[in-house]
Symmetry: C2
Subunit: 348 residues, 2 copies
DNA sequence: TTGTAAGCGTTATCAT
DNA sequence: ATGATAACGCTTACAA
């Protein structure tokens, strides 16, 4: 009882004309008589004809769909990016096919391979935390497959990229803590494989140095899986607080790390900001309702999704090869909510 | 410079054999000599052959992809549902194509039509707030197109459905407020078109009645667009607090309404729970970190996505028509965090 | 203006 | 065991 869809053939048969005529009439070709055109259009309407996009894809060698690979959908930042992606894709008549790497290199490779085997016209990808070897992406890119990297990027592949100014985000967050008198600022961050880690930590370090503070490697805690399992964050935070010189502030470099950090501190009975101040990357609505309202670095996620998609469609639809690849750098916003940061006495 | 993909033809040519032989070898047909098979396999490997899923789709009249229509991706609840959907789809080798109605009936119709025109094998949908007329879905369903409804469903279509026990969620949330002595409990809810609205409000009303309280229609505020624009929530909350008999508690029936409600109260300078207690549906991680930690009704969103997808794939892959459609009802969890609710003196 | 036929990549049927 | 051919639904030279 599968439903048989109406094809161009059915219309042709019904009208006693050829399929090519029908096709032309539907595509509004000028080389067709107005009468026939109307006839076909009416018939198509009556039979509720819908062109088969798959047949079209086969013919045109394009699917009008783009693939998206992110580590996780259920994440404020990425779901907002996807929102941006979908908004542009919808406008341009493209489908969005989503798949999650779940921070696994193997899954990323599989996802990529699957999507790229011509079921999508191009790819938007934010690398998984495990991804160190980029041969899968390189191979694809070398074949001329349109790819745009966003958020977690790599310099090993020369294509369009969209990121926020992670250095700036890290710098400003740290600087804000310093300005409030903090002297022992720790950073809770992701895998060292990730570009965002380097950039945000670099900003952190630079802010310390620019303000005459020393970088203390013990204050830098990496969560390899970015907190996919909560215990990872818990361990990292615990490590920070079991050293002699406990930090007086923490800068968390991602949505998940920020939430996890707050949760862990609460469990340890540490008050924010009385015992320790916290600033983190966060795209959650709730940051301002948290106890106390949190100072956060907010990323223009929606815009990132839109930009990345625009660039990708540009790649897909451009006839001639792109001369130079664009690296678009958006600006993150430090949303200051004073109560979340303890004013320390600045003695010097 | 479009990359030319390797086809079965290329292998055939390279080996000087026919495409049918290649096809058979790749599909591991038994009616083929081991030598040829090995030859083909090696060659395919060498040329890095990938079957073209589009050609396959055309042939098999199935795309191995499913469509998902939700009002919004950047929403804790829905992104968690999508996570569940993706997890099952991935296991079963299906692609997930997402599109957002953005609470617009027109977009929902377009999305549906587009997805259903044979580019997906089935559809998972949670209705938009504007959706009152169901003819688009009915037509599709009547044609035998596999559809599973989740969360915001309708009884007008006889197919598999997955929801949480919204009545129970509404009942327990309200009951919890009553148990703490609240006498003037308002409800902030969605459009009257939505099933979730009816069910949750019904639970609310029933809890009131069961506890000897009267239902006050002035305490029931609907946000037609579910808070897509924040002002809507602000207006609704403001209405609650400009009547003579101001509520002493609010039950918010969705993620977005809960957040928006808290935000509005804060803007109005109303303290939770000193001035008004709040309980809401919420799937945010941050509920427990809010000030004060919020008592919420949490929905098993991931499970909902998984269940809906399983049912859909069952529909898609079943040869014979389903005898009876299943309505799966998951259980929401009332996560009580006492500090968010003011203990009122129970006088009677 | 309209029809015929080839082709997109694959598999299934029928020969050989 | 292998090859030729048709078919999936559509577009587009090329003919008529």
């Amino acid at each position: 009882m599968k439903f048989e869809a109406v094809t161009i053939k059915d219309i042709a048969r019904a009208l006693g004309i050829s399929t090519s005529t029908v096709s032309r009439a539907l595509r509004d070709s000028h080389e067709i008589s107005p009468e026939t055109k109307q006839l076909v259009l009416d018939c198509a309407e009556k039979l509720n004809y819908r062109p088969n996009p798959i047949a079209l894809s086969l013919k045109e060698r394009r699917s009008r769909s783009i693939g998206v690979v992110v580590c996780e959908i259920a994440n404020n930042f990425f779901s907002q990016v996807i929102n941006g992606i979908e908004s542009i894709a919808y406008d341009k008549g493209y489908n969005v096919i989503i798949s999650q790497s779940r921070e696994s290199y193997d899954r990323e490779v599989i996802d990529l391979q699957y999507l790229a085997s011509r079921s999508v016209d191009g790819l938007l990808i934010s690398l998984s935390t495990e991804t160190n070897d980029l041969s899968h992406l390189k191979a694809l890119h070398a074949k001329g497959f349109p790819i745009v990297l966003f958020d977690r990027i790599t310099d090993e592949i020369n294509t369009h990229k969209v990121i926020v100014d992670n250095f700036k985000g890290g710098y400003e967050a740290t600087e804000h803590l310093i300005k409030n008198g903090h002297k022992r600022i720790a950073v809770l961050t992701n895998s060292e494989f990730l570009s965002i880690t380097h950039e945000r930590v670099a900003g952190y370090k630079e802010a310390l140095i620019a303000n005459g503070q020393k970088v203390n490697e013990n204050y830098i805690q990496h969560c390899f899986y970015g907190g996919m399992m909560f215990e990872e964050i818990e361990d990292a935070v615990n490590k920070l607080f079991t050293q002699r010189n406990k930090p007086d502030a923490i800068f968390a470099t991602s949505d998940k790390l920020t939430t996890g950090c707050l949760k862990t501190l609460k469990r340890r009975g540490l008050k924010v900001p009385d015992d320790v101040s916290v600033v983190g990357f966060s795209n959650s609505d709730l940051a301002e309702l948290i106890d106390p309202p949190l100072t956060v670095v907010r990323q223009p996620a929606f815009e990132m999704g839109k930009d990345a998609t625009e660039l990708l469609l540009q790649l897909i639809e451009s006839k001639r090869p792109i001369k130079e690849f664009e690296k678009r750098i958006l600006t993150p916003e430090l949303q200051i909510r004073e109560s979340s940061i303890k004013k320390m006495v600045i003695a010097d």
